[in-house]
């Protein structure tokens, strides 16, 4: 489905309405496109360009600046191995070597079964748990070769599906409330109101936005994985002892 689905067009319009200048929503909308297809197709970017009133070149030119956007399909699980200084000091290149052997691909490659793609990543900000790996940008810290092998098995068996959504899914939580900053007559029927000054906000000419059509999914945002937050707690508690 290379063009945005009707539901995703709706999401794009909601995102555009959040900003005083709709173009600000370009990157969030490209994330929606990548969530839909797993990558950014030419036809999809063309469609996004139409929605924004931009040229396809402007859309691609913007998207190509950013590392998270892929222009070719990637595997179901995108494995990013941090090799930056903190992880390197803890043997990240050894880990990367192991992962290359285990998956049979080099960074930039995808396994023939389409399950895994591999990237050699820059610092992922989980340095207290070096070396670290992300799968579809979900964090796994303190990874050693055995730990990675277990991770691969868990992913293949679908045991991490609740915590590792498909590639491209940035947020399973949608904005459900708030003020509209931009123009969307569909929500309140009033004239376009943009908060060009505080007065507009305060005198109520900016519409209160009703909850989005689809209520936010009930997602459990707890995690069994290592995060900087849990690492900090451990550090803090030990710090008090």
């Amino acid at each position: 489905m290379p063009r945005l689905s009707p539901d995703n067009i709706q999401r794009a319009q909601e995102l555009m309405s959040l900003y005083p200048d709709a173009r600000s929503a370009l990157i969030p909308v490209l994330h929606v496109l990548q969530e839909q297809d797993g990558y950014l197709s030419e036809e999809g970017m063309q469609h996004v360009a139409e929605i924004f009133g931009l040229t396809a070149a402007e859309v691609r030119g913007t998207a190509s600046f950013y590392d998270l956007f892929h222009f070719e399909p990637v595997g179901r699980y995108l494995v990013a191995v941090c090799t930056n200084i903190a992880c390197m000091l803890q043997g990240a290149y050894r880990l990367l070597e192991h992962i290359e052997e285990r998956l049979g691909i080099a960074p930039g490659g995808t396994t023939p079964d389409g399950m895994f793609s591999l990237e050699d990543a820059e610092c992922l900000a989980l340095c207290g748990n070096a070396p670290c790996v992300t799968v579809n940008w979900r964090f796994f810290g303190d990874v050693d070769p055995e730990g990675f092998d277990r991770l691969v098995e868990d992913l293949r068996a679908g045991r991490l599906d609740d915590e590792v959504p498909p590639h491209g899914t940035l947020s399973r939580v949608r904005r459900s409330v708030g003020l509209t900053a931009g123009v969307d007559a569909a929500w309140d029927g009033s004239a376009p109101a943009r908060p060009k000054d505080r007065a507009a906000l305060e005198d109520g000419t900016v519409a209160e936005r009703p909850p989005a059509a689809s209520p936010p999914q009930a997602v459990d945002l707890s995690t069994r994985r290592s995060t900087p937050a849990t690492a900090s707690l451990e550090a803090a508690h030990l710090g008090e002892s």
Partner: protein, 445 residues
């Protein structure tokens, strides 16, 4: 010892059960700072923040209150929250976004009230999807609770907050690049002047760009007063600072410490903090404030963690990332990996940075691979000199932003401190150090 006497201001709730939820935040007294702030005038709060002297926690260390005071009197005004934490080995904002998003929202709304912002954009690094989810969920709750949106807590103040995901670009942590990205463009830093987004920022409007940790301090500052914050720390470095300790220590992690009270020795060796070097190896060098900062040697262990103290020894406190390296670390490999990072992340606008980073990357790689030449040391310094004339500290700049000048410090400091080891690589035709080991494998040996 002052390590544990100071209250933890921004991390006190990290790791509590479901700390990211409104229920948990309210149980810990959440949003009381905002409630109190709305009974004060914006000017009063601004005075408190000036008294607190909060230095920006992103890396540059600019006084937050002074930044707010520079907002050009025009409408509208915007607040952009910089949550694009990408400086290698810095992982403090990541923890704050994931662990306590309501604290960040509360701080951002307080700031918005002071500067009269029409809208707040929280720019979160795209690599933090769990952080984005928790922040968005918290924002949905905060709206429903009345802490964000129209007539906040029944006051006359209204503000809209938007969680904005980035998409993977280190340079978007530079404030003008962040604004370009927020406008839906490539993240190219803007040409200065104008130097300050407070004059000309998002959509050309006056904009304050503040770091996540900076804003997370505000609820506490409002409740305890600027004096309470300024009572902690020394000199210009007030309050507490979240230190992201990584590298070859036994206990890496985020530690919130009273600013300007703890030395590098305490941080690395205190059993409650770093716990010493792994295997009790010798300390070789410290990268004291993010990989843009010049390295320091063990002779500086007794320097206190404070902006001015670290500046005195020719480096910087930067983002609060500290990376101690033990005697098995190869200075060439470390400098190469840091330079390679900047090479990959250079936006490409300025020739010295775009080309120089590639040259440094290639030369360091060949030295590490044993194919270096004796003239390479001079060549490295020459390339550094073209990126940042004089290779001094603080660095001179030939580029639009400071990404380029962030490269020479690790190269120059490495050559200055470990010249013999560079030469050994070249003369022996190989790296004299063992490959970096995986920590667990090491533990078993």
């Amino acid at each position: 010892m002052t390590i544990t006497e100071a209250p933890r201001i921004v991390t006190r709730r990290l790791g509590r059960d479901r700390s990211w939820t409104l229920e948990s935040y309210l149980a810990d007294g959440g949003y009381q700072g905002l409630r109190k702030a709305l009974t004060m005038t914006p000017e009063d709060i601004h005075d408190q923040v000036n008294t607190a002297n909060i230095l920006g926690r992103g890396g540059a260390g600019f006084e937050a209150g002074r930044k707010w005071g520079m907002v050009r009197p025009a409408q509208p005004v915007y607040l952009a929250v910089n949550g694009d934490e990408s400086e290698p080995a810095t992982f403090k904002d990541h923890a704050l976004i994931e662990g306590d998003p309501h604290q960040l929202i509360e701080g951002a709304v307080i700031c918005a009230y002071v500067i009269g912002a029409a809208q707040v954009f929280i720019y979160v690094r795209g690599e933090f999807p769990l952080g984005i989810e928790r922040l968005q969920a918290a924002l949905n709750e905060a709206y429903a609770y009345g802490a964000v949106g129209r007539r906040i807590f029944g006051s006359d103040f209204s503000v809209d907050v938007v969680v904005h995901p980035g998409a993977g670009a280190y340079i978007c942590g530079e404030e003008t690049a962040l604004l370009e990205s927020l406008e839906g463009k490539r993240g190219y830093p803007r040409i200065k002047p104008p130097y300050f987004p407070a004059a000309l920022g998002l959509y050309g409007a006056p904009t304050v760009v503040n770091n996540v940790e900076t804003l997370s301090n505000l609820p506490w500052v409002v409740l305890n007063g600027g004096d309470g914050f300024a009572a902690l720390g020394e000199g210009r470095s007030k309050g507490t600072k979240l230190i992201a300790l990584a590298g070859h220590v036994k206990r890496p992690g985020n530690y919130e410490l009273e600013w300007a009270k703890v030395t590098f020795r305490d941080l690395i060796f205190d059993p409650r903090l770093g716990g010493g070097m792994r295997d009790d190896n010798n300390l070789k060098a410290i990268i004291p404030g993010g990989v843009s900062s010049p390295w320091i040697g063990p002779e500086h262990l007794d320097v206190t963690l404070a902006n001015d103290e670290i500046a005195k020894i020719g480096s910087m406190a930067g983002s609060g990332s500290v990376i101690p390296m033990d005697h098995t670390a190869c200075p060439v490999r470390a400098a190469w990996r840091i330079v390679r990072f900047f090479h990959r992340e250079s936006c490409g606008q300025c020739t010295p940075c775009r080309e120089g980073s590639g040259w440094l990357d290639k030369i360091l790689e060949r030295i590490e691979a044993g194919r270096g030449r004796e003239s390479d040391l001079d060549l490295l310094m020459d390339v550094c000199d073209n990126i940042s004339p004089g290779v001094s500290w603080p660095p001179a700049q030939t580029t639009i932003c400071v990404l380029g000048p962030s490269m020479p410090p690790s190269v120059a400091a490495g050559i200055r401190m470990f010249r013999d080891e560079y030469l050994t690589h070249i003369r022996d035709g190989r790296c004299p150090f063992p490959p970096d080991r995986l920590p667990r494998r090491l533990a078993r040996v």
